[in-house]
């Protein structure tokens, strides 16, 4: 695998929604390339006839009756919200007024 460029590091940070300073991005570029070097030998492992495992302790998925059970009261669930409006979490508008109209 080739080295991660600065532009790729910026793209990954944007995908991860991490707002980082130029210094932080530079440090991460170095760290990530150091770590990716350690991954390189995996490419040499023959996995041509090996299925992937998402988990290795495989159990039957339990099912229960489809009956609503009590859950966390709304007030408790919203207790940690930075901004609240009635029974809702208040967030910033994602559409401009023009788009709304």
């Amino acid at each position: 695998m080739s080295e991660l460029t600065r532009a790729e590091v910026e793209r990954v940070a944007a995908l991860a929604r991490l707002g980082l300073t130029s210094d932080e991005l530079g440090k991460l570029q170095g760290d990530l390339n150091l770590i990716l070097e350690q991954w390189a030998h995996l490419a040499d492992v023959d996995t041509s006839s090996v299925p992937p495992s998402a988990q290795t302790i495989v159990q039957a998925m339990p099912l229960r009756d489809d009956i609503a059970e009590p859950s966390l009261p709304v007030d408790d669930a919203l207790k940690n919200a930075p901004a609240r409006s009635g029974d809702f979490v208040r967030v910033q508008a994602i559409l401009s007024e023009e788009a709304d109209g």
Binding site: L4, G19, L32, L34, H41, L42, I57, N80, V91
Partner: protein, 515 residues
């Protein structure tokens, strides 16, 4: 019982003392809080203490013991084994009404609105929950130096790390601030700190303990487990928290062995080693392993042989790929799990100025510390278009090979794998902070068991440079009772060993009150 003997008592000893009336839970709780008050300024194990609630829980436990004593022996023995026994929780376990930070600034101010299943089970069992312990941010780290809040020192040497990520929980038990604590182990975060602080720590089989209400790191690897100073105590805590939970679909219905409540002890425990077959994987004696660690581990293996255990060297050839595989799978899952910290519903928030996207970028960019950012970046990259097959899918395939390696060991009739827990003793603060890869290598011997979902336990097996060394036992799925029985056997075999007489530093002499 009083004073120092109360403080140093095991959970098993406390239970007997509570039953007979020789001690009260309230007296133990007061004694431990006093020790914490005197010493945590140096130790730094605790993030939150529940002074009033814990004392009320102790008083309620004492009342139940008194009632049962009046009713007779049957009523006393019917009481849950951890009734009145103090426990510490790693600060990623939700406990209603307490802060849960996961060691991160991004959860500063968050108050749990509900109980994790294991917290509810501990409450139901009447345990006294003393408080929450320090950890590497979101359990990412091997030294607890990545906590956003404080430094936790190793009770054996205050210039050295306690291991991690559950370093607060391991230090608290090693320093006699609690007989029991809860940790989580995604790549070694229970076993490695147990090894570095000279106590017992177990990662159960994936699915043995519910993760509901535990802050998630890597969901295909995370397990919750006990820290204690003896195998029997660890077994009691495991028995209390384990079992199927409707809130965690990965939790298992596999029955718990009742022997956990009463492991063999003394000669019976030692003689249970006879005829057991132990696999000694040559790949676990990795390059860079300290000579003193290797010596202590090989001595422990020799002791098992003297007791009639059959030890054979084996090969687990995929061990060399486990580290890279883990550091793809775990960050990939972490990047998805940590997407929820967006500053909108809870936790620290930088929304308000600018647009919504800017609020996300600021909240996450400022809220996460350096190691968490590194892992989110790694994981996001490994899952991104064009790299997913080369990294993530490849790692999932190598995981299959790692699991097959272990399957071959069990098919050959071995009862357990014996290996070092950590290739080195506790290191000095800062020694690995500038090089992430050197920190990752600290988990080389523990993370294969996570990749395969297997149970593993670390037990003290000696000293190197006057610092504790851990012996790791890895077992087949659901064999926790077997692993802890073997551990109890090893404890019996080495009960009079000279190294067992060496204790951690007396922190009280170092001065410094609670922060």
């Amino acid at each position: 019982m009083s004073g120092e003997s109360l403080r140093r008592a095991t959970a098993t000893e406390l239970r007997a003392a509570f039953q007979s009336g020789a001690a009260t839970s309230r007296a133990v709780t007061d004694e431990l809080f006093a020790a914490i008050e005197r010493e945590d300024g140096v130790l730094g194990a605790w993030l939150h203490l529940r002074h009033e609630e814990a004392r009320a829980e102790a008083d309620r436990a004492d009342a139940r013991y008194a009632t049962a004593r009046a009713a007779g022996p049957a009523a006393l023995s019917a009481l849950p084994p951890l009734l009145g026994v103090p426990v510490a929780l790693k600060d990623l376990v939700n406990l209603t009404g307490t802060p849960t930070t996961a060691g991160s600034r991004i959860l500063e101010g968050y108050i749990s609105p509900y109980d994790a299943t294991i917290a509810a089970r501990l409450r139901e069992a009447g345990a006294v929950i003393l408080g929450k312990t320090n950890m590497d941010e979101f359990a990412m780290g091997s030294s607890t130096e990545f906590s956003a809040y404080k430094k936790t020192v190793n009770p054996w040497a205050t210039d050295r790390v306690p291991g991690g990520s559950s370093g607060g929980s391991s230090a608290a038990v090693a320093a006699f601030h609690a007989p029991l604590s809860i940790g989580t182990d995604t790549g070694g975060s229970i076993r490695q700190p147990a090894s570095l602080t000279g106590i017992v720590g177990m990662k159960p089989t994936y699915g043995r303990v519910s993760r509901y209400g535990i802050v998630a790191f890597a969901s295909s690897l995370d397990q919750v487990g006990p820290f204690a100073r003896t195998a029997q105590d660890a077994a009691l805590l495991l028995h209390t928290i384990a079992g199927a939970d409707a809130h965690d679909a990965t939790s298992s219905r596999s029955p718990l062995d009742a022997v956990l409540l009463n492991l063999p002890s003394g000669d019976a425990a030692a003689s249970a080693i006879r005829g057991k077959r132990f696999a000694l994987p040559k790949e676990y004696f990795v390059a860079g392993m300290e000579a003193g660690v290797e010596r202590a581990v090989r001595d422990a293996v020799a002791a098992l042989e003297v007791a009639g255990g059959i030890v054979e060297e084996v090969s687990l050839p995929t061990t060399e790929h486990a580290l890279a595989t883990y550091y793809i799978v775990a960050p990939a899952e972490a990047s998805a799990n940590l997407a929820r910290y967006d500053g909108v519903r809870y936790g620290a928030s930088k929304h308000g100025g600018g647009d919504l996207l800017n609020g996300y970028l600021e909240t996450r960019g400022r809220g996460f510390g350096p190691e968490v950012r590194r892992r989110i970046m790694l994981g996001t990259y490994a899952l991104s278009a064009g790299y997913y097959d080369a990294y993530y899918v490849k790692a999932q395939k190598v995981r299959t090979l790692i699991a097959r390696d272990f399957d071959r060991i069990w098919a050959a009739g071995f009862d357990a794998i014996v290996a070092p827990t950590s290739p080195q003793v506790a290191w000095k603060f800062g020694a690995k902070m500038s090089d992430p890869v050197s920190m990752y290598l600290a988990d080389a011997c523990t993370l294969p068991a996570n990749m395969a979902g297997l149970p593993g336990v670390s037990i003290p097996c000696g000293l190197s440079e006057n610092l504790p060394v851990g012996l790791q036992l890895i077992g087949k799925p659901w064999s926790e009772a077997e692993l802890l029985s073997i551990s109890a056997g090893y404890e019996a075999l080495t009960a009079t060993a000279a190294w067992r007489a060496v204790a951690p530093h007396d922190l009280a002499k170092l001065g410094g009150g609670a922060a």
